[in-house]
């Protein structure tokens, strides 16, 4: 005998079916939300890995560059300078020349002496040891003196605050930034004045270079072609600093590199895992 279903039974069936679909939809919504969260998390992790890779790559490049500089510096000092000194000495020993030739020889000896001095300066500016031994302020001071002596530009150096060591590697990179910026000014700006400022504030260090040259539109620069300004930005990034380059046609150029010293303490102590070796 078949029992006909009561209204209650039908309600139970209806409720069960509804509950089933609600559960199914709930599961799907939960899956979608969870999946999207995982996607975002994965993307963030991937971005962090990429940034880390870029940083490592940049550091490797700088290290290779430093090694090359050190090699060139050694070669200039130990080989070329020695040979030139020997040539200068040999020339001094020529005694058979007449008065006219002797004058020429003396002129050449002066020129060689000048080349030896220039090469020694160049060797010092390329040498890692020299820069770290002298410190950032002293090295920049010497460079400013050389610039003024060369007559290429009138450079002025201002040091504010009590200078503190920023760590050998940081100071080396900052000095390379300084060199790059000075090079750009001399090569491209046509500036007559260059103002270099080093600001030592308790929690902050700033290196600023301002020229009165032709200036340029920052937006028009092709960063993909590895311009000197891009190098400045890359070097700053490698030591955890930030570089700000402001310029406009006719208004000169302003380069500002900022180091947050509180963030840099592990770098300075040499305990930070990302420090440039």
């Amino acid at each position: 005998m078949v029992k006909s279903p009561s209204t209650d039974e039908l309600y139970v069936v209806l409720f069960s079916a509804t509950a089933f679909f609600v559960f199914l939809v709930g599961f799907i919504v939960y899956f979608i939300v969870l999946y999207q969260k995982r996607q975002i998390k994965n993307k963030l992790e991937r971005d962090a890995l990429e940034a880390n890779f870029r940083q490592e790559f940049l550091k490797s490049r700088l290290e290779i560059q430093e090694e090359t500089f050190a090699y060139v510096s050694r070669e200039l000092h130990d080989n070329i300078n020695q040979v030139l000194s020997f040539v200068k000495l040999n020339m001094a020993m020529i005694s058979t020349a007449d008065a006219g030739q002797q004058t020429k020889i003396n002129e050449n000896r002066d020129l060689i002496a000048q080349v030896i001095t220039d090469l020694r300066d160049l060797s010092k500016s390329l040498s890692f040891e020299h820069i770290t031994k002298q410190g950032l302020v002293k090295t920049i001071e010497n460079e400013v003196k050389k610039l003024n002596k060369s007559g290429l530009i009138n450079a002025e150096l201002i040091v504010s605050g009590e200078s503190i060591p920023l760590g050998e590697q940081r100071e080396l990179v900052l000095f390379r930034i300084f060199q790059e910026a000075v090079n750009n000014t001399i090569k491209h700006s046509g500036a007559a004045q260059l103002k270099i400022s080093l600001y030592y504030i308790p929690e902050m260090f700033n290196l600023t270079l301002e020229d009165d040259g032709d200036g340029f539109s920052v937006n028009s620069l092709d960063h993909s072609k590895g311009s000197g300004l891009t190098n400045i930005e890359n070097r700053a990034t490698a030591i955890g600093a930030s570089a700000e380059i402001n310029s406009s046609p006719g208004a000169g150029c302003h380069v500002k590199v900022t180091l947050n010293l509180l963030q840099q303490i592990p770098y300075i102590n040499g305990t930070h895992p990302d420090r440039v070796s």
Partner: protein
């Protein structure tokens, strides 16, 4: 009812044509899905003809239930990456054949609807889909979830497996209480339409070239 069946056959035909057209662009699992769709079209047509001639097409339904299970299992075998699960899936195929033989010998004769085998199949499909969902969560692709053919296919299997299970349960209740089965037949057709439409969508958006961007899935 005839009309609903012809709509169903027409749907299968459309999906088969779309699948064959895109066959070379599809991943291995979706190529298998296309073969399954074509086979389903042929099987359903033969069942209809046999049913008209002999008034019972259940022997074919018994054979097809096992073939369809093997097809879906092999599709999941291609989608799931876990080696142990893959082995289990391979073992489940002959196991289902053995179950069908036992079912024929003990529970449902060749002339009866193979509900036991179909119910077990639905449960296994739901488990497959849950495993695949968990695999997707472990290796999320960069591609938007809604653009992933795998998501639609797997969601569809989960929906079909659970809904058809509910359908069998309700149908059984309706039969016991001598209620009008028209609603349940309509519901069954609706679920089938949705199932095959979503299968069609997943075949349409599947692309093996996407794997270069996508970590695991097409």
């Amino acid at each position: 009812m005839e009309k609903a069946f012809y709509v169903y056959i027409f749907l299968l035909l459309l999906i088969s044509i779309a699948g064959i057209t895109r066959y070379k662009k599809l991943t291995r699992a979706f190529q298998l899905l296309v073969i399954l769709m074509v086979s389903t079209l042929i099987s359903e047509t033969i069942k209809k003809i046999v049913g008209k001639i002999y008034h019972n097409s259940m022997p074919l339904a018994h054979i097809w239930a096992v073939i369809e299970f093997c097809f879906f299992s092999y599709i999941y075998y291609n989608l799931i990456e876990n080696a142990r699960l893959k082995k289990i899936i391979l073992l489940l195929m002959p196991a289902m054949l053995v179950l069908e033989i036992i079912n024929l010998a003990v529970f449902e004769s060749l002339m009866q609807f193979p509900s036991a085998i179909l119910n077990i199949s639905q449960i296994v499909y739901v488990i497959y889909s849950l495993f695949l969902f968990s695999q997707m969560l472990l290796n999320p692709s960069e591609l938007s979830l809604f653009k992933q053919s795998l998501f639609w296919f797997n969601l569809n299997i989960l929906f079909y497996g659970t809904t058809m299970f509910l359908n069998y349960a309700l149908t059984s209740y309706f039969i016991q209480n001598k209620l009008d089965l028209g609603i349940m037949v309509g519901f069954s057709f609706a679920v089938n339409y949705i199932f095959y439409i979503v299968i069609g969508i997943s075949i349409f958006i599947n692309n093996k070239q996407v794997r270069a961007v996508d970590f695991n899935y097409g």
